[in-house]
Every structure is written in structure tokens, then in C-alpha cells.
Subunit: 181 residues, 2 copies
Amino acid sequence: MAIRYALLGLLTKGPHSGYDLHSTFKTQHIYFWNSTHSQVYQELNKMRDEELVTYETIVQEGSPNKKLYSITHKGEKRLIEWMMEEAVKPAKIKDEFLLRASAFQAISVEEAVTLLERILAREKAILAGTSQWQLEHYGEQDYPSYLEIGSYLTSEFGKRYAKMYVEWCEWALELLESYRA
Amino acid sequence: MAIRYALLGLLTKGPHSGYDLHSTFKTQHIYFWNSTHSQVYQELNKMRDEELVTYETIVQEGSPNKKLYSITHKGEKRLIEWMMEEAVKPAKIKDEFLLRASAFQAISVEEAVTLLERILAREKAILAGTSQWQLEHYGEQDYPSYLEIGSYLTSEFGKRYAKMYVEWCEWALELLESYRA
DNA sequence: GAAAACATGTAAGGCGTTACATGATTGC
DNA sequence: GCAATCATGTAACGCCTTACATGTTTTC
């Protein structure tokens, strides 16, 4: 249900295509939201029927035509109503690696170390990517324009999350040393 | 699909009822997994059919009867196969509050501050709860028995996650001050 | 007297994923 | 030549949630 608010939120910053919106989920929003391109296109169609968004077709040479979606007045109203609701649902997380980690007692220390090292490398790469992205977008400024406040806040969250993950991996690897024969 | 591995993982530490297993999701696993009681019961039935788990009925006075589930040899084998798979899917997170935060440009600074303060309080309470839980379970020890390694690693992750969230909220509130008229 | 904890299930429906489908351009 | 990027969709399926269903004991 909340996918629509994710899309409406992005559209408050200006018109975007379905492809753009999905790309954002894959890159910037990865730390707190996820979706697939097919769901994005389906939800955009529903929202168009409910007049929360409109679009105009952009004819392009070289690339396929695209639909540039804009948020309507009605859409913006609906978004803000949702944002100001009293209740905020707790986050729902499904992290397969942590699920494996929670069952490390079922495998050997050596195997656990192997799994952890792989994830440490992955998270380091993610941290580097997020830091890079933030530098490219906000590098010189102390703080960005208010239009960019959402992206700025959540990219910082992403960076802190990745950093925390890396540090936890390193701590866990050290701890596992204690169990080595 | 992975719900079954979450359940199998917990059962490597000993027999548990469906109610117990779901309680764990609501408390300890909240940082990396979530489910509902109805899904837990349904999945346990499926796994019983596939002989990944067995159960015995415990007749209780005062409380309703319960089914104590145990992991089978076949179940353990299946779990370890899954754990050692090369590919680990990236985490899927759905955090409604961060979704709201990502659209803060659509509301006023004052409204954003109100929302943030509410979440800061929530996360502080969660951090306190997790710290308390960890203290009760592992307080005196430097590190726990290997049987408890999974819970220990992930509860530490939970603590670090909550701490990071609190610090990010405080940082965000400070930043928002810059935009105040 | 009400709410929370203990305890387990079924049924309906929808959200979300995976697979199928197409096709041009750019970079390695 | 192959993979990646750009670009948008449909169809099938199933995981997962919400609602329905029941009943006792303990705590406030």
C-alpha cells in the first residue's frame, strides 16, 4: 500500500518516468525501501486512474519513448495526509545474511568466518558507493536546498547504516576468533 | 521462502512451540526478520509434511495444549545447504518512517521536526529495551557458548542499529534547525 | 471488568515477485 | 558479439497480511 507514497514522494521533486523512479529504489532508497519495475509501472497506472498523477509522453530519438509522470494537487494532498498520520508502522526488514548469522551455531567457526568475510566486503563496497554518491550530490555544501532535504537525510542514513554494518562485521570476526580451536 | 530457514535456525537451539517461535520474531529478530503468527503456523505445517520438523503435543494445565517442534536430520541438512549457498540476497527493508523522511520537502520544517521527535523517542525506547535484553541474557560473560552465538551476534547488531538510528535522528533534528525562519 | 499473555488455527485477498515479452543504443 | 542501460508493460503465482475464530489464566 505504501509503494504509492514512495512514488508520490519522489514526484514532489519534479516529473519522473517509471524507469527513473524504479532506478531510485535500486540506488538511493535501497536502505529503507525496495520494489520491482513491474510493481512501479502497475502502481503508476492505478494512481493515474485515481488522478493522483498525470503523465505526458516524451518522444525520444535513440531511446524508447517515455512517460513523464507528475504529481497532481490531489496526489500531493493524499501524500501529506499519509505523512502526518499519527501512527507510524515499525520497519519491516528481511535480511537474509543476518538470518544466516542468527543460525551460526549450526555451522563451524571457519564456515561462519567465510560467510562474514564475504558480507564484510559487500558492505564495504556499498559504503564506498553511498559515500561517493553523497559527495557527488552534496559535496561542497554544508546543507542542501530544502527541496533536497529528503534525499539528503536518507542518504546520510544509508551511509551510517552501511558503516554500522561494516563495523559490526569486523566486531563479529574478532569475536569468532575466540571460538577457534 | 526464507521463513522456513528462520524457523529451522531457531529450532537448532532446541524444541520450541509455534507461539515461542513467533514471539522471537516479534522481539529478538525484529532487526532483520518479521512474520505473523499465522504464517508461522502455516509454515510449520508445511515443514512437518516435508519432514523437516516433527512435533509432540504437550498437555498443559492452565494454559492450552501446545506443540513442541523439533528439527529433523533432514531439516538440519536443508538449513545448512541454504546457509552455505554462494549468493546472499541483499536485505529488503520497508521503513515507513524513512519513507516519510525522504519526502520531507513536501511539508514544513516544523512538521518534520514533530515527526522526527516522535521517532527519536520510539528508537530510544527500542535501544533501551535491546540493551536490557542483552544485559539479562549475556550480562556477565565476555562471550557466550557457541550455541548462543547466533542470538548474541544479532542482538548486538540490533543494539548498534538502534543506536545508529537514535544518533541519526539527533543529527537530523540539528540539521533541520538550519532551515528554520 | 478489561487487557495482556498463552496457545493454535483457517480463509480471503492483495501486495509483490518472477517470468515472459520487446527493442534500440552504447560501451567493453 | 555480449552485457548493460534505457524504456515499458502483462501474466501467473505465491508469499504474506488481515480478519475471523476460540478459550483460559493472570495481572492491573
